[in-house]
């Protein structure tokens, strides 16, 4: 072969930077958080009740920022709308745009239905700008009857059921975007959407464990040990599946030893030696695997369970980020001629630097903290109190028109019985809800 006309490496730089690494990372957190929410709403995993609302709101907050990295990466962000204004049937990105919008709509409606009793109650008891927000969110209808809640509950379940395939397709589509690049052997595998999906579930559960423990710490309440243990169990299972799939793909490539393997093996042992071998596999997969195995032991002290789960979750979140990094950046380090590697210098500043990436990653958390102030994420303070996991439903009349049902513990019920004014119309439901705010 005459090679005199080649110039190496033939890929001058890595165009998809750390910003694009964040795109599948944030989208994955959305899908994973929604799966946890669906486990409660669809599969009646009542042990996940303490995090059911948090899971849904987390999914919404992260979903709101999922496309921000893509918009910032584009030199013309306004062109992003072209994929929906003039959609192409053969464009995977166009498909993602449509699925993303439908999924966002589904999430907004489900969150609205779940929080509607609280929104209506707060709309009547809160003044000022916040009250105006609640009144707008209530859409002018303040009926919270048993009948309306029955329909809402049914609709929430329908949306949760529809949301499971939607979440799978949403993140599967992200994996498909990479898996469909046939010129890149590190990406081009039919397993890519499934691997992305599995790691999405992993990251979502890990993020929820971390967020739940963080909010419990901020609210000065004891985390629900059963809930933590159950989530750790789900995390362990999903981590096992995700890592197995990742390893299977690698072993398959190595066993096949195709023309591209010599370049891929060099990529893994050279450029990705630390981010893959040490961070993704050793620190991010093996360590949490062992920690979670310990955390799910029922005879373990709850505080130790929480500490182990928190550590494992943090490591898993690092693992998933490393996995996204190794796929997105690693795949571009490989020259498309399989001759040589491209360097990716990670800069602090600049439009696609580390600082911008950190800001993008922090934005959903800021949104979550604000939403947590606006909406009551914790249905009952008692749910997080050690030894009081029994719930019972108490109907509370509000302003003569609301027949809301909220779950309170025996302890709270006693408090309500003692503190409730003689005139039931004067009872401040909003205050009860606000007490549970972060």
């Amino acid at each position: 072969m005459d090679t005199s006309s080649f110039v190496f490496p033939n890929d001058p730089h890595v165009p998809w930077s750390i910003i694009i690494v964040l795109y599948p990372y944030i989208t994955g957190l959305v899908a994973g958080a929604f799966v946890v929410s669906a486990l409660y709403h669809v599969f009646h995993q009542d042990v996940l009740k303490p995090v059911a609302r948090l899971a849904l709101v987390t999914a919404l907050c992260f979903c709101a920022f999922a496309t921000l990295p893509l918009l910032l990466h584009l030199h013309h962000p306004e062109r992003a709308f072209n994929i929906m204004i003039t959609p192409s049937a053969t464009s995977a990105m166009s498909g993602f745009g449509i699925i993303y919008n439908l999924y966002m709509l589904l999430l907004v409606v489900e969150v609205w239905l779940v929080f509607r009793p609280d929104i209506v109650a707060l709309a009547q008891t809160t003044r000022g700008w916040t009250g105006t927000v609640y009144r707008l969110l209530s859409l002018g209808d303040r009926e919270i009857s048993r009948e309306s809640r029955a329909v809402d509950e049914w609709l929430i379940r329908v949306l949760a059921i529809a949301g499971i395939p939607a979440a799978c397709v949403l993140h599967g589509c992200v994996g498909f975007l990479f898996g469909a690049v046939k010129a890149n052997p590190w990406w081009s595998t039919a397993l890519m959407p499934i691997i992305f999906l599995a790691s999405a579930v992993v990251s979502g559960i890990a993020a929820l464990i971390a967020l739940y423990l963080f909010f419990c710490w901020r609210r000065q309440v004891t985390p629900d040990a059963d809930c933590i243990r159950a989530m750790s169990r789900y995390l362990w299972v999903s981590l096992t599946i995700a890592v197995s799939l990742e390893m299977l793909e690698l072993v398959h490539m190595a066993y096949e030893s195709g023309a591209e393997w010599h370049a891929l093996s060099a990529l893994l042992t050279d450029r990705l030696a630390v981010s893959y071998g040490i961070v993704q596999v050793l620190i991010g997969s093996v360590c949490p695997f062992v920690l979670l195995l310990l955390a799910i032991q029922s005879r373990l002290n709850p505080r130790l369970t929480a500490a182990l789960s928190a550590t494992a979750s943090a490591l898993v979140l690092v693992q998933v980020f490393a996995m996204r990094w190794n796929v997105v950046v690693g795949g571009q380090m490989l020259s498309k001629s399989f001759r040589g590697f491209v360097d990716y210098p990670l800069h602090m500043g600049g439009r696609e630097g580390l600082i911008v990436a950190a800001v993008i990653l922090v934005l959903p958390f800021i949104a979550l903290i604000y939403v947590a102030r606006l909406l009551p994420l914790w249905e009952s303070v008692g749910a997080h109190t050690a030894g009081t996991r029994q719930f019972q439903t108490v109907p509370i009349p509000i302003s003569g028109i609301i027949d809301a049902s909220i779950s309170v513990t025996n302890h709270q019920r006693t408090m309500l019985d003692e503190e409730q004014p003689a005139d039931p119309d004067a009872f401040d439901y909003g205050a009860v809800v606000r007490n549970e705010h972060v």
């Binding site: 005199s4 001058p12 730089h13 709509l105 409606v109 809402d152 399989f338 001759r339 040589g340």
Partner: protein, 186 residues
Amino acid sequence: MNWRLIFSRHTRHLRILAFLVIAGGAGAMFVRSQMVPTDYGQRGPYRTSALAEIASQPSVLQSDTTCLKCHTDVEEERSESPHAAVRCFHCHGNGRQHIADAEKAAEFPEHQIPEAKEWDGYFRAHTDLFITHNRATCLSCHTSVVGMPEAFRSINVAEHLEEQGAEDIAGGNVCFECHEGHSPGL
């Protein structure tokens, strides 16, 4: 669930929500209908007029033929060199302004052509025309990498500099102790 509830007075909020969703969807469809270009989709998923627009834009990359009209000495230097395949813009940038200046100077001899700047070390440099003696330019092609054909001159930098007895091993311009850019004498 009692299905009659869906159409009862208890689900007024859902009817308001449905109205908002449908109104939003209809609004989005209307906006879209106004934004689709008239000549979109006639020949594929693009505007037909885009072809003519793109064709009328000036070329960003200059061909070597344009450069070598003036730099005939470089053409001679490179003709027998392994760097004959390397294009001018690989080491000197696009040079659009430089060529515009050269064309202007041809017409008005008093017009001064600015001197080329030294490369700033950034591979995506936006400098119009630059010269470089930085080893990074050379090593972007000549670092030994997996899968490179044997005939291609690739080196392990540290070993190569030691073998050849380079004076300034850490220096940026070390390659030019022995090699020339246009005719490296490999």
